[in-house]
């Protein structure tokens, strides 16, 4: 999925959370979205997901304007918010069955079981989501988006709730998702970890994009741009 963002701005009252953002991301990229708290990362993800309207500018998916009213456009965008977007009083399996049905994806028992097994939740399929830990809910979200296969997957700080094997699982899933020609945008504060798997980095600072380039090794420009908001003690 090709994502183009032109002069995108978002204001909350008199405060500009994002200002004049331009992006052109091609299929297969795994984009690291970085920046300090309040930089506008979540706002950008919500705008692309169509969960909040832009104040100015436009977003295009595969050269077509993103229409919030179009179901087919929305089916192409996924937002993995750890431990959210799941019904607590439905079982793990019922959640997956509900969302796959909504997206018109295959939801036979075998498909769901194998998706759950891939995130080590095979034995929790008939338990209520409310009984799962945050990390397990995040794993369930991974299984959910694995089944829904969106062309553009957005992730908002997924590392915080995952343990070591969960992180490996997430990264393997993201790499495999990109290999299929899908676009992934991953917002996180775990810079070194995100940079290892990403093919491009974007830095937002106070609502403006201060850096946007494909990954290189070594990467002095990134180091310089990143140093401006680097928290004390982080290398």
């Amino acid at each position: 999925m090709h994502l183009t963002v032109k002069k995108l701005s978002k204001a909350y009252g008199f405060f500009w959370a994002l200002k004049d953002l331009n992006l052109d991301l091609v299929p297969g990229e795994l984009v690291a979205l970085l920046g300090p708290n309040g930089a506008g990362k979540t706002t950008l993800l919500k705008l692309i997901a169509g969960l909040t309207p832009a104040s100015l500018g436009k977003i295009e998916l595969d050269r077509m304007p993103l229409s919030r009213a179009s179901g087919s456009s929305r089916a192409q965008i996924g937002l993995l918010a750890p431990a959210a977007h799941l019904y607590e009083d439905l079982t793990v399996r019922e959640n997956l069955e509900f969302f796959t049905s909504l997206y018109g994806r295959k939801n036979d028992a075998g498909n769901i079981s194998s998706a759950l097994a891939s995130v080590d939740l095979g034995d929790r399929a008939d338990e209520f989501v409310s009984t799962l830990s945050s990390g397990m809910k995040c794993r369930l979200s991974i299984a959910k988006w694995d089944l829904l296969e969106p062309g553009l997957l957005l992730l908002d700080e997924p590392y915080g709730v995952l343990d070591g094997s969960g992180v490996d699982l997430l990264e393997e899933f993201l790499k495999a998702h990109c290999r299929k020609g899908n676009l992934v945008i991953l917002a996180s504060h775990h810079v070194s970890r995100v940079l290892k798997i990403s093919s491009r980095a974007i830095i937002l600072h106070q609502g403006r994009m201060t850096f946007n380039a494909p990954r290189q090794q070594p990467w002095p420009e990134f180091d310089q741009a990143f140093r401006e908001f680097l928290p004390h003690g982080e290398a």
């Binding site: 997901a49 169509g50 969960l51 909040t52 309207p53 919030r68 009213a69 179901g71 087919s72 929305r74 089916a75 965008i77 996924g78 937002l79 918010a81 431990a83 959210a84 977007h85 799941l86 019904y87 607590e88 009083d89 439905l90 019922e94 509900f98 969302f99 049905s101 909504l102 997206y103 018109g104």
Partner: protein, 226 residues
């Protein structure tokens, strides 16, 4: 066809959640019953006067219990940002509206199935033969209430004091349906003939049809408003 399929999916999910939680249904049921007992203790009505007061009292009970249900209508979606998950999905907003309106309609009908006979028992009404007509009018009135209530519930979804705001916004808009339902019920209870209140019955049906259609069409705008 897609609209109906998606309506069914969301409604089935909501009914499963309701069966597991039972909070809305039980609250509505106990509140409705409590109101009837309060009315019974407050008004020492002779049988002749009951038929005059019954339509208003019954509708007050429906209105208040229904408002309780509306306040909880998007309860499951407010947890865990599940509304965002639905808005992010290709789900037709009209289907979301229909599913939520149907859910509230089913809950209210279940409550009314208990409240209406209980009203007849508490106020010692002898006109049990009129119950089918009373249920028919209650059904039409409840449909209008649920349709308009679902739109208003979604409109106030992100409001800070939504439980306070919802009745303030909803009740003035409900006046035509309250009037029509009370007039229809009054005509049935007085003379046993629904035909006496035909203009009000037409208004009631018209209101239901118009707001059901409008709800499907405008819900996309209503649910996404910030």
């Amino acid at each position: 066809m897609k609209l109906l399929r998606e309506t069914y999916l969301v409604l089935r999910k909501d009914l499963v959640l309701q069966l597991r939680r039972r909070d809305s249904l039980l609250t509505m049921f106990f509140f409705g019953t409590l109101l009837l007992f309060v009315f019974h203790l407050s008004f020492d009505l002779v049988p002749d006067r009951v038929s005059e007061m019954a339509p208003g009292l019954l509708w007050l009970a429906f209105l208040f219990t229904g408002t309780l249900g509306l306040a909880q209508l998007f309860g499951a979606e407010r947890e865990n940002q599940c509304l965002d998950a639905l808005l992010l999905s290709p789900l037709d907003r009209g289907a979301l509206f229909l599913a939520k309106a149907c859910l509230n309609f089913i809950l209210m009908l279940l409550v009314e199935l208990v409240i209406i006979p209980l009203f007849w028992i508490l106020f010692n009404l002898q006109t049990w033969n009129l119950l089918p007509q009373v249920f028919l009018i209650a059904l039409l009135g409840t449909l209008g209430f649920c349709v308009l209530g679902t739109v208003m519930s979604a409109l106030t979804l992100r409001a800070r004091a939504r439980e306070l705001l919802l009745p303030l916004v909803l009740f003035p808009l409900m006046i035509p349906i309250i009037l029509a339902t009370i007039q229809c019920l009054g005509a049935v209870l007085r003379g046993g003939e629904l035909g006496d209140a035909l203009p009000w019955l037409r208004l009631l049906i018209g209101f239901d049809v118009i707001f059901l259609t409008l709800g499907v069409l405008v819900f996309d705008w209503v649910i996404e408003i910030e």
